[in-house]
Symmetry: C2
Subunit: 339 residues, 2 copies
């Protein structure tokens, strides 16, 4: 049972990964009330140290007793690890906020984007799920529109950065670019094909339907977070040679009419969203600007007259921050506030 305290023992599981690393930074940046930070990771990282508020925290492997006296565990160590260890942590009375896809569609596990459905947090039974990065950045602005005029259908195409594959994705793009500039052959390991100067319409595994798991996460998680299965959603997820931040081209068919100006006004007062939309001055959201920032940037807002009630927009956010680590820490903050 999670109890209100002044300070909390927090564990970060997957602490040496790209998201885990960001979780540790964000706990620090936001002055999260941490009495003790514990860092866990897979075997190959045991013995490493991570830096937190100027002190070195040793990285340990997970054991049955790892979560004794831990209040909140932020997991970002992959689905297999989450499936194995999140129930162990939860049964120790710890609240797990899990960044993997393991529990996202489990009806017993709340799937939370605080700006959208923070009140669902208290329904947790020890595990709270953090949605997919591409879903989080889309669903915050969508929620404002959904509440105002309803949503009939969404067609989204993504432009996702290599940091979504972790540090190894970042390294692969960097190495391939360097190899190409030096006229050397390119090696592909993380991705099935060269990502440098290329676009791969392929993120996560392919399903029999021809869709990827990533595309179906956007479809299913968006419906679950908005609490409306009747919304039509289709997604095409594409990896682009960008290091940080995901961009999304989102076409929305609303139930009743809303003008581009009304959408701009609506999103301007939406928590966690910054409208960045002045094309006449070449102002629109871009990956290089959103990197390291907390907000979701929305621009290129315009009416689409190919349907009765259409809106196009371009959404960019830091996939490691709002798309993952920041959202997880915000869930923890709301958990404390609500308790």
């Amino acid at each position: 049972m999670f109890k209100k305290k002044d300070m909390y023992t927090v564990a970060v599981v997957g602490a040496t990964g790209a998201v885990g690393n960001e979780m540790v930074s964000i706990l620090d940046e936001r002055d999260f009330p941490v009495s003790e930070l514990k860092a866990y990771a897979s075997e190959r990282s045991i013995g490493k140290k991570i830096d937190y508020k100027g002190s070195e925290i040793p990285v340990n492997g997970l054991t049955e007793s790892a979560f004794n006296e831990v209040d909140i565990a932020l997991f970002s160590a992959g689905s297999d690890s989450s499936r194995q260890w999140a129930p162990v942590a939860a049964s120790n009375g710890c609240v797990v906020i899990d960044n993997s896809s393991a529990w996202r569609m489990d009806p017993e596990v709340p799937l939370i984007v605080p700006e959208v459905n923070y009140e669902e947090i208290l329904k947790h039974k020890g595990i709270i799920s953090n949605p997919n990065c591409s879903t989080i950045q889309m669903v915050v602005p969508l929620k404002a529109i959904y509440d105002e005029v309803g949503i009939e259908r969404i067609v989204v195409s993504t432009y996702q950065s290599v940091s979504g594959s972790g540090q190894k994705g970042v390294n692969e793009l960097s190495e391939q670019v360097t190899d190409l500039l030096n006229l050397r052959d390119v090696n592909a390991g993380v991705y099935p094909h060269q990502i440098a100067f290329n676009c791969l319409p392929h993120i996560d595994e392919f399903l029999e339907s021809g869709y990827t798991k990533e595309e179906m996460k956007m479809v299913n998680e968006t419906k679950r977070i908005l609490g409306d299965d009747s919304i039509g959603i289709t997604a095409t997820a594409v990896r682009v040679p960008v290091f940080m931040c995901h961009s999304e081209s989102v076409n929305i068919e609303t139930k009743s009419r809303i003008s581009a100006n009304e959408v701009r006004a609506l999103l301007s007062s939406c928590a966690g969203v910054t409208v960045f939309d002045a094309p006449e001055r070449d102002v629109y959201p871009m990956a290089i600007d959103a990197s390291g920032r907390d907000d979701i940037y929305v621009g290129r807002i315009r009416e689409d007259d190919s349907v009765d009630n259409g809106i196009n927009m371009w959404i960019v956010a830091d996939n490691l921050r709002k798309g993952a680590a920041l959202n997880a820490v915000q869930i923890a903050e709301h958990l404390i506030d609500l308790t």
Copy 2:
């Protein structure tokens, strides 16, 4: 008046540009019946030489007499130059095939993609327009679907390479990447912002509606080429850090139902299209594969159940070849065949 001959005097206007250069190569590759090749360009290229079938062709500036005795002029020197010089060439009895946007929406000027509407070629009055690169690669597969089941609406998001901005776009991406890898500041000149490791939702100028000219070219030219103003089309055009080839995520709402397998079969027998669609073996169209190729590659074909009759696909083509120079030369070939 264009007359059938064994060989033709051909002029390439804008011969030193990225598309002009490709036009010269393609005339050679396809053994176009050229008796004499004349090369024209803007002032700063006068005196340069271009290579054609092993001989050096001097590059001259345009004059009133430049088109005397020229049968076919392939223009790719920008809209201003086309507006000024295409009528001069046409009044000299030369047929102009123009790659700029200057005449594309002029009802007196046929807008041609040979696989779609070659029979319109003979309606020309001296000028034939080559569509926008992003439009050409989309409209060929769309035409097959349109003829089979009708099209209600299209939502397209593009992933366009820097070669669409000519050699200067290629140079800018290359220089920026090199600067970043060497920890030097990046200079943006061709694009308003850094394109290296970034996505710019901005191609061509912005209109008051919030759409770019590029986006509206895709909307208006597609309707004109398919000869159907009732199709709903909306586009988001995005520049990505890729050197060659444009990729497109295209969502199609058809008038009656068609399965993904039927689309695959239909496109497999479609001239100019190669279906490249075996996700279980990581086979899908990619910019790095389509570069230097003539065909339009289509993959990720899958049913979209967010509407009654939806299909998603991913289309990739070499924007300098089928998107520009090859299509222009194919128009010239059909002009000869039809005469």
